[in-house]
């Protein structure tokens, strides 16, 4: 099973959202990392077949998804970033409606809904109106609909936004179990979500894929660029302006332990630290973050 993205480009009037993306997705969990506006959602929509590319193509096992049509959508699960629902729907109504759109027979539908509601701990709210549920619960309902047809390809756009830490962990476990022999693509800007479950990651910036590799290999790029130093609290503000700080932890005696990314040590008594995916993300997207902060 293989999903091949070849020279995929999407241009709007004044903007190129996705620019000549090439990527081959194989079974496993794939993380698609990138800052807001990097082109993740546009890329996912084209892979989902709901957005026509300006140029390039997406092939599933060598056949273009446009040609496959219904057959492709049949093995496909998708959770969009903007997840909507009809106001009169309860959780069960919504899942039954989506099951009918996915062509599931009635007998399979009820069994599958029961299974998913238990897996995603939604059984107790099955008869509640979706509009009355919390954001996290609504998101879980969205995840349930994506899994209804037991898809071979699952695409989730920001699936963990609005989930609390417990729900996040449960979601990761469900997905790890589910991803056996399936292609799962998760788009997020929450690095920790993919760090634990993604077999491979693609990093997107300005509409292009700038790196594709396993988490370990990507993290290696940061060897010798992550530093840790303990400084007096009053100096923190000064250093924050000169280096890219990943995290700050309070220590005894009025000191703080600072983790930062830099080509060379910039703080006194800096020691190298073991890099993580989060460090790489901050390294690659430092420009965008600065722009965003300035804008705010």
């Amino acid at each position: 099973m293989e999903l091949t993205i070849q020279g995929l480009t999407k241009r709007y009037k004044d903007k190129t959202a996705v620019n000549n993306v090439n990527l081959t997705l194989t079974p496993g969990v794939w993380g698609l990392l990138g800052a807001n506006g990097a082109g993740k959602t546009t890329l996912m929509r084209m892979v989902a077949g709901i957005l026509t590319p300006t140029s390039g193509k997406v092939q599933y096992d060598g056949i273009e998804i446009k040609t496959l049509g219904e057959a492709y959508r049949d093995i496909f699960g998708y959770l969009p970033q903007n997840f909507g629902f009809y106001p009169e729907f309860t959780v069960t109504d919504y899942l039954q409606y989506m099951a009918s759109l996915k062509g599931l027979p009635k007998k399979d539908t009820n069994l599958k809904i029961d299974e998913l509601l238990h897996q995603l701990t939604l059984a107790e709210v099955r008869n509640k109106h979706i509009r009355k549920l919390s954001g996290g619960m609504q998101r879980r309902v969205g995840i349930a609909q994506a899994l209804l047809n037991d898809p071979d390809i699952l695409i989730l756009d920001e699936p963990t936004s609005g989930l609390d830490p417990g729900e996040r962990i449960r979601f990761r476990n469900i997905l790890s179990e589910f991803a056996q022999q399936r292609i799962v693509l998760i788009s997020t800007h929450i690095v920790s979500d993919v760090e634990y479950i993604a077999n491979r990651n693609a990093i997107m910036k300005d509409g292009q894929i700038i790196a594709v590799d396993t988490t370990d290999e990507l993290v290696k790029m940061m060897d010798g660029k992550v530093w840790q130093s303990t400084i007096p609290t009053e100096q923190l503000h000064h250093y924050e302006r000169t280096v890219r700080v990943v995290s700050v932890r309070n220590e005894d005696g009025g000191n703080v332990s600072v983790r930062y990314v830099s080509e060379s040590p910039r703080l006194p008594d800096s020691q190298t630290a073991a890099p993580r995916l989060e460090d790489l993300y901050l390294w690659l997207f430092r420009g965008e973050e600065a722009v965003k902060e300035d804008a705010v």
């Binding site: 709007y12 903007k15 959202a17 959602t41 546009t42 929509r45 989902a48 077949g49 709901i50 957005l51 026509t52 049509g69 219904e70 959508r73 049949d74 093995i75 496909f76 998708y78 959770l79 969009p80 970033q81 903007n82 997840f83 909507g84 629902f85 009809y86 106001p87 009169e88 109504d93 039954q96 409606y97 989506m98 009918s100 759109l101 996915k102 062509g103 599931l104 027979p105 009635k106 399979d108 969205g142 609909q145 047809n149 037991d150 071979d152």
Partner: protein, 262 residues
Amino acid sequence: MNTKLRSKLHAALKDQPDLQISEEHLIQTMRASRMAYQSRRQRERIGYPAFLLRQVRFVAAPVWLLQGFMLLCAFWLFGFADLGAVSNLAPRHLPILLGCFAVFITMISIPFIGRSVQYSMLETEMATRISIPKLLLTRIFIIGIGNVLLLSVSFLLASTKAELGAGSIALYLLLPYLIACCGCLFIQACAHRGYQGFISTAFCFSLTALLFVLYKTAPVVYEQASVGVWGALCALCAVILIIGINRLLDKAASLDLPPDGI
């Protein structure tokens, strides 16, 4: 083998004029294809009739509820004339009453076609097995059943009470209904996403006002002599409506999401 696949294979083989196909290779290919076909996961899926029936619960419930209310209104307006609603108006005012009622039938039902956009469901629905044109067609069919029933009941009730001919009553109902449908479908296809419901409602109210103004300022429009024109316009609108539905389905088939989402 389906025709599309056959022609594709034929075209591909044409590009390879020197290709030698042996019997042995053919058998091997057939065996490999059969194995690949059998090893795929079997997925039982429902056909379109079963899908249509299951949609009744989700699509029809809210529409039929409103249409049921309109049915009660039809009985009140045209059925129980002695109770007062039309007794003082009919038969002189019946044409305008029928016209306005027909426009309201459209007004309450057509916005249901564009619910996917209104409630941000389109993106989720587009990624499912059933295509958006099929889903729209299903909605139009379900809404149409209710509308045909409403128009028929109104026609029968008005026929029993009014002195107008059956043909005239049918035209006074059908023409405003068809104009309203054409206009609303045009709005669904062309208006900015999210505003279709509002614009459709505004259009229907404007049409009702126009009917009323015509009735007040040019009563000749509603006289027996104009029936031929009404008939011709009805036929024209029916053709435009069919074209409009086709265009809406075509547009839905090539639907693209805007960059800022829906």
